[in-house]
């Protein structure tokens, strides 16, 4: 086949590029705007007089003698100890991913290899719980958490997030396991493995794309969660997202809103890095399912 056959007519080519450019702007512009603005003072970024102040930083220039300032970051991280919130987020995410994946791989494997009909109903029930609005679950938990005096702590939030996330990880991992031929388990068992060894030595190595994809989705759920963390964690134990909301809630003092902007940028950057790092696994995990046996 000649390459000419693949060449598109010029107008179509231009239209495609314009479409991609517009789409890219819409998708990426808010982030870059925020990133740019996070180095300005509030009067510039939220300027009512002249919106170009956000670009030029006229007030930033007059206040700090330079069009860029790290005042927002200093305020957030040093004055308000946003790093504590970052650490909390890290702890919550790490625990949620670890627990979700442990239960999810074991449970998904068991469900995929079980010959019983109740498996289907278990998965349907799991899906129903996933479909419920999270707020209904959380409001159901709250009185009990107050009763038991465990409200406000990180482990409690982790517990709730795992509970909310688990049906999804089970579903996803179950379908990944389904795509791995049962012959592999049986070959392993005949070769001398127990069921668990077959799982550990034969199935899991083939499952990595699925585990990484599911793990990433669990991570994103925990990382981005607002409802659960905002309602369950006390002020001292907040993760990043509710803390950003708290910054926004104190806009009476000039400059506080810039803490929120700086915090937003700080919270978003790791996600970019993470997704870029794992993009190949995510794509292969989402499309291929698993390696052919």
């Amino acid at each position: 086949m000649s390459t000419a056959a693949h060449r598109r007519p010029l107008p179509l080519q231009i239209a495609l590029w314009v479409f991609i450019a517009v789409w890219f702007m819409m998708a990426a512009f808010p982030f870059f705007w925020t990133l740019w603005g996070s180095f300005k003072v509030e009067l510039d970024f939220f300027s009512i007089a002249d919106w170009t102040n956000a670009l030029t930083g006229a007030n930033t220039q007059s206040t700090y003698g330079s069009p860029f300032t790290t005042a927002g970051y200093e305020g957030a991280f040093i004055q308000n100890e946003f790093w504590r919130n970052s650490i909390n987020t890290f702890i919550v995410c790490f625990c949620v991913v670890t627990v979700s994946l442990t239960i999810g791989t074991l449970g998904g494997y068991a469900l995929s290899r079980s010959g019983y009909k109740y498996v289907f109903w278990l998965l349907i029930i799991a899906l129903m719980f996933r479909a419920l609005p999270q707020i209904t679950l959380v409001s159901g938990y709250l009185p009990i958490f107050f009763d038991w005096n465990i409200w406000g702590y990180l482990p409690t939030a982790i517990l709730v997030l795992v509970a909310i996330n688990q049906p999804f990880t089970l579903w996803m991992l179950h379908s990944f396991f389904e795509s791995i031929p049962k012959d592999l388990d049986e070959a392993a068992k005949v070769d001398g493995c127990t069921q668990f060894q077959a799982f550990r030595f034969v199935i899991i190595p083939v499952m990595w794309p699925g585990v990484i994809t599911t793990g990433l989705f669990s991570f994103l759920l925990a990382y981005n969660d607002f409802v659960v963390t905002a309602l369950i964690l006390n002020e001292g134990n907040r993760t990043m997202v509710p803390q950003i909301a708290a910054f926004l809630g104190t806009t009476y003092t000039e400059g506080n809103v810039m803490f929120a902007v700086a915090a937003v940028v700080s919270a978003t950057a790791p996600l970019f890095i993470l997704v870029m790092f794992f993009q190949r696994q995510i794509v292969s995990g989402l499309t291929a399912g698993a390696v052919k046996g």
Binding site: E186, V190, P205
Partner: protein, 349 residues
């Protein structure tokens, strides 16, 4: 040493009968072939011996020990799967080594044994490839090597040749026969291909719908089929089967009349093999028109319509006739097998 005894083994799923009352003793070092059409229970039987299915009732004994409740890993068997079941994340060397590693064979022995097993199936040049980079025949040989590396007591092979092309099938078949002889291991081999069964087996078990139809040596099964199912399943082409009436020692049906039987009167099914009958110019027991003619190279297959069935006869390689020509065929009573018209069971010895 591994003698396998199956005592009245049954497997049911609800009301569906997978295997019914399977009763057989498989001698040490015997090459036993389970033969039958798909869904006849042959693979289920093998999987029960392997421990991958639990029998609903009955006992399975290996070397006199009841193994019903043992895990597959504790039965000292190895198995070759129809889909090979190779571990896609490991290379050929690691695949073959896996059983040794899992069973905690001293690491010092691994290399030697893996290489020996690989050499037996001529895999040395591919040791560092992943299964995905191998052809079907090579994957098949990896599966074989992985089965022999541990030197188990029993080999189980589940249609190992069915995914190979015709030519490779013949050469791998010879390789398997040679391996089983060399390793002196009891082998149970499942297939739906009667030629594989005839060429490989010491004894063949013909199954249909979960029920054992006949157990015997390949010659036995070919020469004395126990019923019409076995007769129609074994041989290429299968035995000709014609429904007709027996009266006073003479079998008659449309287009054919054979005398000289000593069987009671009534409806019977008569069977004979294509190569036993002969095409003659005139005076044969069967007179009909040629329905089709096929050149096989070493012979010519003449098919005629007789008694409501198509009957094939092998003529010499030089024989030629046209569709619609009259043809006469000798079918002496000595080459015929008689079966009960109702049950299909064999009538004469």
């Amino acid at each position: 040493m591994a003698e396998i005894v199956l005592k009245n083994v049954c497997k049911r799923w609800g009301s569906f009968i997978g295997v019914d009352d399977f009763d057989l003793t498989i001698a040490d070092q015997e090459f036993l072939v389970l033969l039958g059409p798909s869904g006849c229970g042959k693979t289920t039987t093998m999987r029960m011996i392997a421990g991958l299915e639990t029998p609903t009732s009955g006992d399975i004994l290996i070397d006199g020990e009841r193994v019903n409740d043992l895990e597959p890993k504790d039965r000292d068997i190895s198995m070759v799967f129809q889909s090979y079941g190779l571990y896609p994340n490991m290379n050929v060397y690691e695949n073959i080594r896996f059983p040794l590693k899992v069973r905690k064979v001293p690491a010092a022995e691994h290399d030697e044994r893996v290489k020996k097993a690989a050499a037996m199936v001529e895999l040395e040049p591919f040791m560092h490839r992943k299964p995905a980079a191998l052809s079907g025949g090579q994957r098949q040989r990896v599966a074989l090597a992985r089965a022999i590396v541990r030197e188990p007591n029993v080999f189980l092979m589940d249609e190992p040749l069915s995914n190979l092309d015709a030519k490779l099938r013949v050469s791998t078949r010879a390789q398997i026969k040679n391996l089983s002889h060399e390793l002196k291991v009891t082998t149970i081999y499942v297939t739906h291909d009667q030629i594989e069964a005839m060429t490989l087996a010491d004894r063949v078990v013909v199954m249909s719908k979960g029920i054992v139809q006949q157990v015997g040596t390949p010659t036995d099964i070919y020469d004395n089929p126990a019923n019409t199912f076995v007769a129609s399943f074994i041989g290429s082409p299968a035995m000709n089967l014609v429904d007709g009436t027996m009266s006073g020692g003479t079998f008659t049906c449309e287009g054919m009349s054979i005398s000289g039987f000593s069987a009671p009167d009534g409806k019977v099914t008569l069977g004979f093999r294509a190569e036993d009958a002969q095409v003659v110019d005139t005076g044969g027991e069967l007179n009909a028109r040629v329905y089709s003619m096929e050149l096989l190279g070493d012979a010519t297959m003449v098919t005629v319509r007789c008694g409501g069935a198509l009957v094939s006869v092998k003529a010499g390689k030089e024989y030629r006739s046209n569709i619609g020509d009259d043809v006469s065929i000798t079918v002496p009573s000595s080459i015929c097998h008689l079966f009960d018209a109702e049950s299909g069971e064999r009538l004469t010895g």
